[in-house]
Symmetry: C2
Subunit: 197 residues, 2 copies
DNA sequence: TTAATTTTTAAATTGGCGTTTAGAAAATTT
DNA sequence: AAATTTTCTAAACGCCAATTTAAAAATTAA
């Protein structure tokens, strides 16, 4: 009945589970697979976690909390143009992702296997997060910094799609740093591909 | 042993399967679920399809063929600027998607459950498709139409991510037409959000 | 109305799933 | 060294999975 420093083994289980969930998908990943990856029997897992879904819950909500924290710190900053705010929001998101690409992939692809009421809670967090990016874009339009003709929903979904897919192709060993990547994505979104005249 | 006009019931099965796979994910969707949706017993399905995976295979490769066809017809056109080509490629992709949003969602999210060698074949088709969009962007850079500073991989992945996520949020009953949506996405990508001075 | 074909079913097969239980082994604390 | 806690295991439970088989029912064609 100790509650402290119990983390080490449990975290090991969760990290390996993240790898497995990313690789095979939550539904296709079995607890026996997971146990084998850890070199133990499936039954042993249950000394560390309550259920398969608890692992998914932990992965999804921990990531959500980090994304939220990152966005909040950007929102607190003052005297930023809409472009700057957007850029910082994007960079923050990518930095959070880059810290754990595996968990990020699970967060993005597997959250739908959460059961109620967790699923509802998760989706609420997500829609809230997206809306806060949408607000940044709307502020940009209101201030005359962004075109008023743009479809805001399209803009924010494009941004969010792009962020969400990054864990699929971003190579952390490659030359490019999360901050650079974020800067470039923000630049592309704000200024486009077209060469200035 | 008839081979003709057998399509009707089989297609019905495949369409319902697409809905189910989109909703629950391939691995979590059972043949019993599917049968129930059709009002028959699970065993009856096997008069129409060979296996669960055959359904997934059909859905994924049929969509892939349609995307390919669409892109090829754009590539054939001549005397287009890079922006125009990109725009037409994007519009084509969205039109194909809009014709069957359910199958598109399966194509995007569930293809990874294909087993070898189908999975390999599918991924080859996909990388080829992406590379053809990348070529469009590179041509734009080569002609001086696009900035030379852009990260081409980032650009094409952003585009592709955005296209891939559309079936998740695009509402076919909403006011916006696939062609308009494509035009706007292309405009955002090429010209950015920033207001022209 | 037969004959042929398509569609469906009940029943079984084989196998994997998440999880529980009772307790052994190993590691840690006292 | 003894006591406590953590980690692990073998064995089982009940359930659900995809698929096969042989045959019945429904539909279509001759």
């Amino acid at each position: 009945m100790s509650e402290v420093v119990n983390l080490s083994r449990k975290e090991q289980v969760i990290r390996k589970a993240a790898e497995l969930f990313k690789e095979k998908g939550y539904a296709a990943a079995s607890m026996r697979d997971l146990a084998q990856k850890l070199g133990i029997e499936a039954a042993s897992l249950y000394s560390h976690i309550k259920s398969k879904e608890e692992i998914l819950h932990t992965l999804c909500f921990d990531m959500a909390a980090e994304f939220r924290r990152s966005l909040e710190s950007v929102e607190k900053e003052q005297n930023l143009t809409a472009s700057e705010k957007l850029q910082k929001g994007i960079i923050g998101h990518i930095q959070v992702m880059a810290k754990d690409l595996t968990a990020s992939a699970v967060f993005m692809n597997e959250h739908r296997h959460l059961s109620q009421p967790s699923l509802r809670d998760f989706l609420l967090l997500r829609i809230n997060y997206i809306n806060r990016f949408k607000t940044m874009i709307e502020e940009g339009v209101a201030k005359g910094e962004f075109k008023s003709t743009i479809d805001k929903k399209l803009a924010v979904m494009t941004l969010f799609s792009s962020l969400n897919w990054m864990p699929m192709w971003y190579d952390p060993d490659a030359a490019i740093e999360p901050e650079d990547l974020g800067r470039q994505l923000a630049d592309m979104l704000v200024n486009g591909l077209r060469k200035d005249k």
